[in-house]
């Protein structure tokens, strides 16, 4: 017997959670003496009603797709990876090493190599927490938090003492050679003969993100590995019964998760900054948690949620520019989305289930 229809489970519950999160956000805006309607207007205008706004919205969304997918893959294996922030940061290191220390004649050659570097470094940063969870039972949430801080300290050290060019005061690496600069979406539009998103950071990585969504979808729902990841995440005793090794799956799922988080560096480090700066990830690793939760751990949902957060991020910047509302409003919304879709899920679900049960009883009688 279903407690409630599938559509209610997949669409209605997250939708109500989302509405609750936004309603409270609106109250917060009211509380600081601003109009939620006006705020929404500014955000939509700034993020969606110009190609300039879209150029930023898509750039941010690209970051969030990668970190959201990273959280999602781990989640399917029953693991809560909050180390996306550190994995993405170390992924940036991988990109930087590849681009600075190897000669690249053209970006099209540099890109695959940089992707390998980003994925490899991100995966390695997830490997130790994964191994400790699988073999020593050390809680992966705590170890990944610790690894975020260790990553920050490591990068800080490397940027100040190793990667910083001589004479520079900035804790940042040298700029990557121009040959490795990725085409921006605006360049590509120009190539097609129209002007779009001039001076915005959205770049070719956006398409890689879409590809990553497809690949992750294939991985999780079309491959044996994905099948085993999902089985383990749902029931460890059943997985063992079926001959699936929990240790192996935990390690592999976290490697993939870390690699996805690491790949974000292609967008922000290679595509936008074109050098490694300190705190390049800017919290995108954590936004991945909200994106995955809201996207119901499905790549399509993650993509939509990433777009929404891209919009919020860019819109929040516009808010800060044109109104007195600081861009931290976005962090509040992000927190409320995580709270309602993640931790307070039962608060929405339990009354809904009772409602549908009651409806069915009445229908049956």
């Amino acid at each position: 017997m279903e407690r409630m229809p599938k559509w209610a489970d997949v669409i209605l519950t997250p939708l109500i959670s989302l509405v609750l999160a936004f309603a409270i956000s609106a109250l917060v805006i009211l509380a600081i003496g601003e109009s939620p309607v006006e705020a929404l207007k500014v955000m939509v205008e700034g993020a969606l009603l110009s190609s300039y706004g879209w150029g930023y919205t898509l750039y941010y969304a690209t970051n969030f797709v990668f970190t959201g997918l990273a959280v999602m893959v781990a989640y399917h294996a029953g693991l809560f990876n909050i180390g996306g922030e550190g994995q993405a940061a170390i992924g940036g290191l991988g990109v930087t090493l590849v681009l600075l220390y190897l000669p690249w004649p053209h970006w099209a050659l540099a890109l695959p190599a940089a992707m390998v570097g980003a994925a490899l470094f991100g995966a390695l940063w997830a490997l130790i927490p994964a191994w400790l969870q699988a073999r020593r039972g050390s809680h992966i949430v705590i170890t990944t938090i610790m690894f975020n801080f260790i990553a920050a300290a490591l990068l800080n050290y490397l940027l100040v003492n190793v990667l910083r060019p001589q004479g520079s005061m900035d804790p940042a690496s040298a700029s990557f050679p121009p040959a490795t600069h990725l085409p921006k979406l605006s360049d590509m539009a120009l190539g097609l003969g129209f002007e779009w998103g001039k001076n915005t950071p959205a770049n070719i990585t956006f398409f890689i993100a879409i590809g990553a969504c497809l690949l992750v979808w294939l991985l999780i729902w079309r491959t044996r590995l994905g099948y085993e990841i999902r089985a383990l995440g749902k029931s460890e005793p059943a997985a063992v019964y079926a001959g699936i090794s929990p240790t192996r799956i935990i390690v592999i799922a976290m490697l993939i998760s870390g690699a996805l988080a690491g790949l974000m560096a292609i967008n922000n480090v290679m595509g936008e900054a074109e050098r490694l700066i300190f705190n390049a990830v800017e919290g995108a690793g954590f936004i991945g948690i909200a994106v995955a939760l809201m996207g119901r751990n499905h790549p399509f949902g993650v993509f939509l949620a990433a777009l929404l957060f891209g919009f919020l991020y860019q819109g929040g910047g516009e808010l800060a520019l044109w109104t007195t509302i600081p861009r931290e409003l976005i962090i509040v919304i992000q927190a409320l989305v995580i709270l309602f879709t993640g931790a307070l899920d039962n608060m929405v679900r339990m009354p809904l289930e009772r409602f549908f049960m009651a409806m069915r009883k009445r229908g049956g009688a």
Binding site: M146, F149, A153, L154, A335, A343, M350
Partner: protein, 321 residues
């Protein structure tokens, strides 16, 4: 390094460890009752903001302290609602609370003070001031003990002494009172408490509330003791270091004192000597900053004495058949 320098570093370590100690004890109460709390950071941050705001508005630091406790308690209530009443995921709830605090403090601060998330500087009675203990100046001349007394032990704010007093108090509550017995039991095996006729829900809410109060004091100390006002994101990961200290201390009060002192000392040393030259090797400050986290991972891995969390930690309690 001379004796005076060492004293200065230890004195600074005492200051820096105080918020860690308070937050660590806060987490201890919560986690000993079976509620994991990675939201220490957020609660401290919220408390720092509310305490600084009210202290500024009223000019009275004590009202600020109360407000700090209130701010942290409000977030504790959210955590309790999510993890006790609605049996949600305690870790996700903690993450959400950290962001909620990070966002709300700036949002409200900007609205109220218009300083980009800062509060105005606190002066006079709006801050906690150092207390000079009796005879500190008279005894300064006594060799060894005199300077230690005057430099390290004397000259802190009342909250520092409170934090240190909380260590034996927590030990006593935990191991010598009915409340402590039930608190520990509810984190180890809630069914034992339930079948003994004691409400698991009430015990856990009480623990979460105490956690809020202590985080509130920690935040208030940050904003009105160490600093003269609130600055955006001023906790800077201290909530996570406190969490690390809690694991390091294996959820016990006296080791928590030691762990937070160790972590405070590391911060003091790296503040004083950004690049610590040990002769054969130079230790960069970043390494000192990361050391608490590295040590915690090693402890968690169980290579140096295993840290076993309370057995029922992280699990919502559901009566079994």
């Amino acid at each position: 390094m001379d004796f005076a320098t060492i004293l200065q570093i230890v004195d600074s370590a005492v200051r820096l460890m105080t918020p860690l100690l308070l937050a660590c004890l806060a987490g201890l109460y919560s986690e000993r009752a079976g509620i994991f709390d990675i939201g220490l950071e957020g609660k401290m941050l919220m408390a720092a903001f509310t305490s600084a705001s009210v202290a500024y508005a009223t000019g009275t630091v004590w009202l600020g302290l109360l407000a700090g406790i209130g701010g942290a308690l409000a977030l504790s209530l959210v955590h309790g609602l999510a993890s006790i009443t609605f049996r949600g995921n305690q870790l996700i709830s903690g993450v959400a609370i950290n962001f909620l605090a990070a966002g709300l403090t700036v949002l409200l601060g900007q609205k109220i003070f218009g300083l980009g998330g800062r509060t105005p500087s606190l002066e006079g009675d709006a801050r906690f001031h150092a207390i000079t203990l009796p005879f500190a100046e008279n005894l300064r001349g006594v060799p060894v003990i005199g300077p230690i007394y005057a430099e390290v032990i004397s000259g802190h704010t009342v909250l520092v002494y409170l934090a240190f007093a909380l260590v034996p108090l927590t030990w006593w509550v935990l191991y010598r009172t009915r409340f402590g017995l039930r608190l520990r039991a509810v984190g180890e095996n809630p069914a034992s408490v339930d079948t003994a006729g004691v409400s698991v829900t009430r015990m856990r809410y009480a623990a979460v509330a105490i956690c809020g109060v202590l985080c509130g004091i920690a935040g208030a100390y940050l904003a009105t003791g160490i600093s003269a006002g609130f600055v955006k994101d001023m906790t800077a990961g201290r909530g996570y270091i406190a969490l690390a200290a809690l694991i390091f201390a294996k959820w016990r009060p006296w080791p928590a004192l030691f762990a937070t002192f160790l972590f405070g000392l590391m911060e003091a040393v790296s503040n004083r000597f950004p690049d610590l030259d040990l002769g054969f090797v130079t230790i960069p400050s970043m390494f000192m900053n990361a050391l608490p986290y590295i040590l915690t991972v090693i402890i968690l891995a169980g290579f140096v004495g295993r840290a076993i969390p309370p057995r029922a930690g992280g699990e919502p309690y559901v009566k079994e058949r």
